[in-house]
């Protein structure tokens, strides 16, 4: 069935409405384009470094076996390589490293750096002070133990002498999921915890699995990784709170993951695959 032919008045109204629609369309498009233009790419705002052409990276532990093999990026290591790859992806010429205490990093004091790469695990508490990027590495809890120590299940883990640090997000995991029979030795940070472990005053230390694997790989005569617990944790870059660079850093990490750069760095610097580490279930205690 065909519509009746509209009267001239209706046609005039339609014509005006069409003109108005076109004008609104052009206006809205112009507004939208102006809102979106500027220093933007599809991957986010263009990276704005603290110093032009330089990616300034803060880290706490230098050297950190597997992650920062020396005090400069050229010395190698997973996070050193990641810093270089990020700089290249973001169109920056070089990387500079500043050492900042771990407690300062998680408190949002990055020492004037663009970002921190320091085996940091995002937590809601830390997110109050810093912005975290998307994780670049999965990092469930891993048990670093002395070479002569063994445990196959959570009951075995309970028998061990543990050392924990006050600033670590993994301390509650030891206390709540492992529940050691003896009170763990409590120290300030990871450096002290490792010293206690090396001295033999403790037998086990809970670390992010990639960190544990790297430390075990660097000193195979003394350490090994007993097992891993299940968890969704990951290691991420920290950026100053409210940083405009977060989106483009996220996109860069996605790109480096997708093109295999991060896998290559893991293979080169972190050795044993986390898939080869036995999983120890702790739910049975619940």
């Amino acid at each position: 069935m065909r519509d009746a032919r509209p009267c001239p008045e209706t046609l005039r109204i339609r014509s005006r409405l069409s003109s108005l629609t076109c004008a609104l369309f052009v206006g809205a498009t112009t507004l939208a384009l102006s809102a979106c233009s500027g220093e933007e790419s599809a991957a986010g705002s263009r990276f704005e470094p603290v110093r032009p052409g330089v990616l300034t990276v803060a880290t706490a532990f230098l050297p950190a076996p597997g992650f920062w093999e020396g005090r400069t990026p050229s010395a190698g290591g997973f996070e050193a390589g990641l810093a270089g790859a990020l700089a290249k992806h973001l169109g920056l010429e070089r990387v500079e490293v500043v050492q900042v205490p771990f407690a300062s990093l998680v408190a949002g004091k990055l020492g004037g750096a663009d970002l921190a790469l320091s085996q940091l695990t995002p937590t809601s508490e830390r997110e109050k002070s810093v912005d975290f990027s998307t994780p670049y590495l999965t990092a469930p809890p891993g048990v670093l133990a002395l070479r002569n120590v063994d445990a196959r299940d959570v009951h075995g883990l309970q028998e061990l002498r543990w050392v924990t640090s006050r600033v670590s997000t993994l301390t509650p995991i030891v206390l709540e999921r492992i529940r050691p029979h003896r009170d763990p030795a409590m120290v300030e940070d990871r450096t002290q915890a490792l010293a206690v472990l090396r001295s033999g005053r403790a037998q086990a230390l809970m670390l992010d699995l990639p960190v544990a694997l790297a430390l075990a790989s660097a000193d195979t005569a003394r350490f090994h990784v007993l097992g891993q617990l299940d968890g969704d944790e990951g290691l991420a870059a920290a950026l100053p709170d409210g940083s405009h660079n977060r989106e483009v850093v996220d996109s860069a990490i996605h790109a480096l993951t997708a093109d295999g750069t991060i896998d290559g760095l893991v293979e080169r610097w972190l050795g044993e695959s986390s898939d080869d580490v036995p999983l120890i279930l702790t739910e049975q205690l619940g």
Binding site: D3, F25, A28, T29, L31, A32, L33, S34, A35, C36, S37, E40, S41, A42, A43, G44, H89, P122, S124, P135, T138, D232, E233, G234, E247, V248, D250, S251, A252, I253, H254, A255, L256, T257, A258, D259, G260, E283, G286
Partner: protein, 550 residues
């Protein structure tokens, strides 16, 4: 019992609880508000995600991984549900409209990308994601009996073209961004991959799955798993060649289209799991990405406005051009529009993959989510008006093999009858059912015998329901003719005789190997139907003569 054993809920059980609570309640709440249920799933995902209540943490892998499987499933079902018969009938209109509906939004997307100074891969991906569309409102239109309308059929057919081109562009962009070779090598690799997918999808997979279903098909679980394995195999094969898994999943759906009839029990099971778990989890996983701090910024909203304009405006221009060209009236053109504006599956796939490979930031993802919500709402609202005014069109009558009913005496169907039903149903994407009649004095079939019967008939490619009824065979046939639910009735009893009725009746002698041992009873001139039956039955083995006509 010590009270300190009471703990705050946490861990996987809590995450699965909130996930399935959202899947249950999200659509219910939004349907009550008169909005599409899938918006409830996306917003529910946001509510439980890291940017909402934080019940599912940012580092959670389970929900995104299940969501990825859901995306594969969604694309697979899109390929599986396509009515290839309708597509074949309106292929020219579908190709013409598909090209126009792809090119115009693509140009819009590319223009926006270049205007904003984006890189070439990001610009092409934006064009591709705006050009694709998802047949979200098609079930509503199909239920209104409009699937045979030429404009509807053309729009459905056009989807194959737009989504395939969009997914190929996605494959090329993703391959060049993540591969380590030169662009030429990667494009060549993808081209080889597409050829392999086509060859496997057209030649190998249907035969392999058919053989597997004939072997294990009587076990419903095994039947479903064979189909799932086929889907994942194609997705994996696509990835081997650097092509996104969703392309393989879509090809898998097309490959199994004939083997899994749209109204058969296998499809019911596929749709059940899709609707209950896989697709909702995918939509919830999208909601996890919603970040109000990113979405409600001038930049994201401006970008969203541009995307909405390019997608909805581009499709409007495409319909406005294609409608008169294909001689469709305004209402039919509007039907094409509502079918082609919803952006969901391929759009989300392209966006998420762009995000995962670092091409798109969270601003683009959130702008696309706004586009998806707007396009679905607009299309759902217009569809309600279209379905009450649009005429069904001449293709509305059921195809010969749409629903074949085999009526047998208590001895059950012969192999020949089941084989004939399958051969007649498959070309139309239809399915067959078996009705076994018995007298009141005959005992109920033993469950063991029923299982043996199912095993036998599934080995002939059967995909339907078997039921028994206390009735005389001739009465059961008469009831089927009156009900008119079947498109063809096969009577597995050579002694049966009846006058021609509203449906064609094929009378078979299952015990005979003679091609003449069948008779077609059809109203009016049944020569064409008889010839068509003969042509289809000839595919199953040696050519036979046309059934005798009465």
């Amino acid at each position: 019992m010590p009270l300190y054993a009471i703990q705050t809920p946490s861990g996987e059980v809590l995450e699965f609880f909130v996930l399935f609570a959202v899947i249950l309640l999200g659509p219910i709440v939004f349907n009550r508000l008169g909005l599409p249920g899938l918006i409830g799933l996306v917003l529910g995902g946001f509510a439980i995600g890291a940017h909402g209540l934080g019940l599912i943490a940012a580092g959670n892998h389970t929900v995104p991984e299940l969501g990825h499987l859901g995306l594969l499933y969604l694309m697979f079902v899109a390929g599986l549900e396509l009515d290839l018969q309708v597509l074949k009938e309106y292929r020219r209109a579908a190709v013409a409209f598909g090209l126009i509906a792809f090119v115009i939004p693509f140009i819009g997307g590319v223009t926006i990308g270049f205007a904003l100074g984006w890189s070439l891969p990001a610009t092409c991906l934006l064009g591709a994601l705006l050009s694709s569309h998802t047949l979200i409102v098609y079930p509503t239109i199909r239920e209104a009996g409009l699937s045979g309308n030429p404009a509807v059929a053309s729009a459905v057919g056009a989807t194959v073209l737009t989504d395939t081109i969009a997914l190929v562009i996605l494959a090329i962009v993703a391959g060049t961004q993540t591969g380590s070779g030169s662009p030429q090598v990667i494009v060549a690799e993808i081209a080889i991959g597409l050829v392999v997918l086509l060859v496997v999808g057209l030649l190998v997979l249907p035969r392999a799955v058919d053989a597997a279903l004939r072997q294990w098909g009587s076990d419903r679980v095994a039947r479903y798993l064979v189909i799932m394995v086929a889907l994942l195999l194609m997705a994996m094969l696509a990835q081997v060649f650097g092509i996104e898994g969703i392309v393989g999943a879509f090809f898998a759906g097309l490959a199994l289209n004939r083997l899994v009839p749209n109204e058969g029990p296998s499809m019911e099971r596929i749709e059940f799991f899709g609707a209950a778990v896989f697709v909702p989890v995918f939509l919830v996983s999208i909601g996890l990405l919603l970040d109000p701090s990113v979405m409600f910024t001038g930049h994201t909203l401006g970008l969203a406005a541009l995307l909405v304009t390019a997608a909805l405006g581009g499709k409007a221009i495409a319909c406005w051009l294609a409608g008169p060209l294909l001689k469709f009236n305004r209402l039919e053109t509007l039907a094409m529009y509502v079918l082609t504006i919803p952006q969901a599956a391929a759009t989300l796939a392209a966006t998420l993959i762009g995000f995962e490979i670092g091409l798109f930031g969270t601003s683009v993802v959130n702008a696309v989510l706004v586009l998806i919500l707007v396009s679905i709402i607009v299309s759902a609202l217009i569809t309600q008006r279209v379905v009450v005014r649009l005429l069904p069109g001449h293709a509305g009558s059921a195809a010969l093999g749409a629903k074949v009913l085999v009526v047998t005496p208590s001895t059950g169907p012969s192999d020949a009858a089941v084989r004939a039903a399958t051969l007649i149903a498959r070309p139309d994407g239809g399915h067959s059912n078996v009705l076994i009649t018995r007298t009141a004095s005959e005992p109920r079939p033993d469950p063991g015998d029923v299982r043996a019967l199912e095993k036998r008939i599934f080995s002939h490619g059967f995909d339907g329901h078997v039921r028994t009824e206390i009735a005389v065979l001739s009465d059961a046939v008469r009831h089927a003719m009156i009900a008119g639910e079947a498109s063809l009735v096969i009577v597995d009893d050579p002694t049966f005789d009846a006058s021609p009725g509203p449906l064609p009746l094929l009378v078979l002698d299952g015990a005979s190997t003679d091609g003449d041992a069948r008779q077609l009873i059809a109203d009016g001139d049944g020569t064409e139907v008889a010839a068509e039956i003969e042509r289809r039955l000839a595919r199953g083995g040696k050519p036979r003569r046309m059934p005798a006509l009465r």
